[in-house]
């Protein structure tokens, strides 16, 4: 405390005499007291340390932490190969079908000659190189063989005949031995007959595959145009078939409007009819089977069966069938688990409404046509089972009575899975054809999923890409490569396995549940969030830094000046 200051207030009351001296003194005294005492070097240093340490904490610890905790984790994705697959440039799927020519009753050199001529004729017939037939002799028969041609020389036959075995992958050709080509022949009617038959057998599949490849990206529109009828048929099949799923739940439901029948021997019927089919389809998908009984199930109020006295039968108009399934009341979409449910409804009408038939929209009621089953695209099928009163008396539907409905359901199941219609004579060949077309469609769909994922993650920079998604993408790419390689050597079994794997993994990557984009925040929102939080902290910090920096600069200048 300075002595001047203590004196000056006391000077006032003493006397107002020499005012001119006092006022000047007071002003000087006040001025003198406003100056702070000189800072010690120590405190200047410590203040500098404080400012510096705050700055260092903010810039070295705070900023990186903020950056680290607010950035979205994005794994590296192999974008180039993903786009490559999506554009259809990574793999040209080929389908070399191996056909074995079995000729136990023909001399080896003649059969070899026949094989060569038939192969040449086939190559001439074939206009689509991605799907072609390779004839080999019986010594090269392997797991990849898709069809066996049995050459059966008979003296009786005037012209060669071909019979496609309905239950085996075999084409039997009966011919007169005189038709066998001589060793010097350059053409043979028998060889071209075989080639024709083979070509026609796989014509449908070839056209399907040609269409699928032509409608996928990156294809060269060189293949011949397909007929509109054929395109309409493909479109029908596509509209009917379920979306592919690795698992399907087959649900069989017995519906009755009364309390009876409340029992059905479904287990035995499923065992003998559905199980073999499902086993044959096991390479396509996994199937589970569930059954349920729903008594007192009445169809919705907009369905009115009409009684026809003359034919003593009830009739349901086809137009009303769309509303037949009472989706609101019947428990038909059980949440069984992952995978699609295919519904099969067996409706047993009340005794007083039996028999119940359907009238097609373009026809009149006719009990003799006995229409009682229909298919619902991408959903399932229904069957009205008209049982005589004697069969109903026990309250149980026997396995024998269930045979016809289950066969109808089997047909519908195959249609719902997209089974090709041709060659309609041979079920094993149709199943094999389904597997091949499915392989190709799975390849296409997983490739397009990869492309979608790549475009999506690049267009939404705020979306995270977790490690499992990146791993799934890698897995998809390797499976796709393996599937493509398997196709090249004609190993369709392996190709389907790998294509399914690719599809599952691609879906898993795309639908990874942590890949939900951050909710959109406009920039003004971000400012509004950060400013009140950081402003009050940042202002003193920055000002202190500026002040210290200025002092430092002044200090430096002073030093230089000296």
């Amino acid at each position: 405390m300075s002595p001047d200051r203590g004196d000056s207030p006391s000077a006032g009351p003493k006397g107002f005499g020499p005012a001119h001296i006092d006022s000047k003194k007071i002003v000087e005294a006040v001025k003198a007291t406003r100056d702070p005492p000189p800072e010690s070097q120590e405190s200047i240093d410590s203040r500098r340390w404080i400012v510096l340490s705050f700055l260092l904490i903010v810039s070295l610890l705070g900023l990186p932490l903020w950056w680290k905790t607010t950035t979205v984790y994005r794994s590296d994705l192999p974008y180039q190969s993903m786009y490559h697959w999506d554009a259809g440039n990574a793999c040209d799927p080929v389908f070399p079908l191996q056909v074995v020519l079995e000729s136990p009753h023909v001399p080896v050199d003649q059969s070899q000659k026949l094989l060569n001529l038939a192969q040449r004729a086939l190559d001439e017939l074939n206009a689509f190189s991605a799907h072609h037939l390779r004839l080999v002799d019986s010594t090269q028969k392997s797991e990849n063989t898709v069809l066996t041609v049995q050459l059966l020389p008979t003296d009786a036959a005037a012209s060669p005949t071909a019979v496609l075995q309905p239950h085996a992958t075999s084409l039997d050709i009966a011919f007169a031995p005189s038709l066998l080509p001589s060793s010097s022949a350059t053409s043979s009617s028998l060889a071209s007959f075989i080639a024709d038959e083979l070509h026609n057998t796989f014509l449908h599949e070839q056209a399907t595959i040609a269409h699928m490849i032509a409608s996928s990206p990156g294809s060269h529109p060189s293949s011949k145009p397909l007929s509109p009828e054929f395109l309409a048929l493909l479109e029908d099949r596509k509209t009917r078939a379920m979306k592919y799923s690795p698992t399907y739940h087959l649900t069989f439901t017995l519906l009755t409007p009364t309390a009876s029948p409340a029992n059905w021997e479904i287990e035995a019927a499923v065992h003998s009819i559905i199980n073999p089919l499902v086993r044959a389809l096991s390479s396509v998908s996994t199937f589970t089977i569930d059954t349920q009984v729903q008594p007192y199930a009445i169809f919705s109020s907009s369905v009115h069966p009409v009684h026809n006295e003359a034919q003593s039968a009830w009739f349901l108009d086809q137009a009303e069938l769309g509303a037949f399934i009472n989706a609101a009341e019947w428990p038909l979409s059980p949440s069984i688990g992952e995978g699609n449910t295919i519904n099969f409804l067996l409706y047993v009408p009340a005794p007083e409404q039996t028999p119940l038939y359907i009238v097609p929209s373009d026809a009149t009621a006719d009990a003799s046509s006995q229409l009682h089953s229909w298919l619902l695209p991408q959903w399932g099928s229904a069957y009205i089972l008209n049982l005589p009163p004697s069969a109903l008396s026990t309250g149980t539907i026997s396995a024998k009575d269930l045979e016809a409905p289950l066969l109808s359901f089997s047909t519908h199941l195959l249609a719902l899975l997209g089974l090709p219609e041709e060659p309609h004579k041979s079920l094993p060949l149709r199943l094999a054809s389904l597997r091949r077309t499915l392989t190709l469609s799975l390849l296409h769909s997983s490739a397009s999923t990869l492309g979608a994922l790549a475009r999506l993650t690049q267009s939404l920079p705020s979306i995270s890409i977790p490690k499992p998604a990146a791993a799934s993408v890698a897995h998809t790419l390797s499976s796709l490569d393996q599937a493509c390689a398997a196709l090249k050597i004609g190993d369709f079994k392996e190709a389907l396995v790998k294509a399914r794997e690719a599809d599952i993994e691609a879906e898993r990557a795309f639908f990874d549940k942590s890949m939900v984009g951050q909710v959109y925040f406009p920039d003004e929102h971000k400012v509004a969030v950060y400013l009140p939080l950081l402003g009050p902290v940042a202002v003193p910090l920055i000002l202190a830094f500026v002040k210290e920096a200025k002092a430092g600069v002044a200090c430096l200048k002073a030093l230089k000046g000296v």
Binding site: T239, S272, I273, L277, S302, L332, L376
Partner: protein, 419 residues
């Protein structure tokens, strides 16, 4: 029927067939009310009215996703417990006895809505709560609540912006999850909500322009609050009176032409430009393409060439036994090779989260420590004599405590993740 492929088919025919091809096979409806609390009764009534309409026109419950953030039927203020009405004549109980609410209460969030649309959901999510659409699905999306310029409030707690919905639709388009979408929204400044859409084949309509409010239609004196909004009311009036059954041939254009600004008290907006073919194509689409579902049945012919016989099945049964084992084995192998990755990945993320949390707490501890140390350093400097020693131990102890803290938290959180 024999299929023959004609080499000399006219190309134009092929093109025509390809164009006519795309057709939807299934219908879905996503109906979202976004506001809570009793005084927003009308938003729940709006949503339930739409639910009633689409169900009446044939969309099954499994294809309707209904989001109701609050339970008006059981609200203690409801003088008609167990019911929700959209009209003061109270003729139609919207709650009825057959209603399936998929997302209710606090499940109705922006995140859940986006997860629903993009199907990025937990693997245990029941199928009834998922939008399992494909490239053949037509989707009707209806939203109602309180909104503003380019946003819609969810539950008075968060907002969905026009960008979010546009992004969700873009993702759906990218994964081919829809064939066509009809987007309808009833909220204030609703027309701003569809301005950011960029994906094709979406028709959008809203109740009011930018800077324009949407109003309620009328209140029920006994319920005590407004029961329905104007825009929804006049949409419903048209659907109830004109679209009486599933065979209706009315088009979207007919519905849009029925909008009367004088009645709705705001300017409804319609956006056509995303549809291939523009306004004309969009307007000619059938109302039943979006508000209902017509099952297109395929009747079996009496003599089907391709139908199976019992001999086919028996042959399959005989052919199979030797192949069965191998194939089942393969199927199992694929499942096994696929599955383990997911849990492993999850654990990885969990542990990395714990680690990050630990680092964060350690950093906070350090950050606390440094100023304290500096402060302690300053306070000790003027008196470097006797007091120096005991004071300098204080920050050390503090630092130990600060370092202990994150360790405890780490144990705690890793224990949680295990549980």
């Amino acid at each position: 029927m024999e299929i023959r492929i004609h080499l000399h088919t006219v190309l134009a025919l092929v093109c025509a067939a390809a164009l006519a091809a795309a057709q939807h096979t299934n219908n879905w409806a996503v109906l979202v009310g976004t506001s809570r609390f009793w005084f927003n009764y009308r938003h729940q009534a709006n949503t339930l009215s739409m639910y009633h309409t689409v169900k009446r026109l044939g969309i099954p419950d499994s294809n309707i996703i209904l989001m109701l953030p609050d339970d008006m039927a059981c609200n203690p203020r409801n003088s008609f417990p167990g019911t929700v009405y959209n009209n003061n004549n109270r003729q139609l109980d919207l709650y009825g006895d057959n209603i399936e609410v998929d997302y209710r209460g606090y499940e109705v969030t922006v995140e859940n809505f986006i997860r629903l649309m993009t199907d990025r959901v937990d693997e245990n999510m029941p199928r009834s709560k998922r939008l399992l659409t494909d490239d053949r699905s037509n989707i009707f999306v209806y939203m109602t609540g309180h909104g503003g310029n380019e946003f819609l409030k969810f539950q008075d707690a968060e907002e969905i912006s026009a960008f979010d919905i546009a992004d969700a639709f873009a993702q759906m388009h990218e994964k081919k999850r829809y064939h066509e979408i009809l987007f309808m929204i009833d909220t204030c400044q609703a027309n701003t909500m569809y301005t950011k859409f960029r994906s094709p084949d979406i028709v959008a309509t809203g109740s009011s322009e930018l800077d324009e409010s949407s109003y309620s239609h009328h209140a029920d004196q006994d319920i005590g609050v407004a029961v329905i909004d104007r825009y929804t009311y006049f949409n419903l009036e048209y659907l109830e009176n004109q679209v009486t059954n599933q065979t209706s041939k009315l088009s979207l254009g007919d519905l849009f032409d029925s909008y009367d600004e004088a009645k709705i008290h705001s300017q409804p907006g319609i956006r056509y430009d995303l549809v291939t073919g523009g306004a004309d194509a969009a307007r000619s689409k059938s109302l039943m393409d979006f508000f209902g579902a017509q099952a297109k049945v395929q009747l079996d012919a009496q003599d089907q060439q391709s139908s199976l016989s019992i001999s086919d099945i028996n042959a399959l049964a005989e052919a199979m036994p030797n192949m069965t084992e191998a194939k089942v084995g393969v199927a199992r192998a694929t499942v096994q090779s696929g599955n383990p990755q997911a849990p492993a990945g999850l654990q990885r993320t969990n542990s990395s989260r714990v680690l990050l949390f630990g680092i964060l707490s350690a950093a906070i501890g350090l950050a606390l420590l440094v100023p304290v140390a500096v402060w302690a350093g300053i306070s000790t400097t003027p008196q470097p004599s006797a007091a120096g020693e005991p004071q300098s131990t204080a920050p050390v102890r503090l630092a130990r405590e600060a370092e202990k803290k994150p360790v405890e938290i780490m144990i705690g959180s890793s224990g949680l993740s295990r549980a």
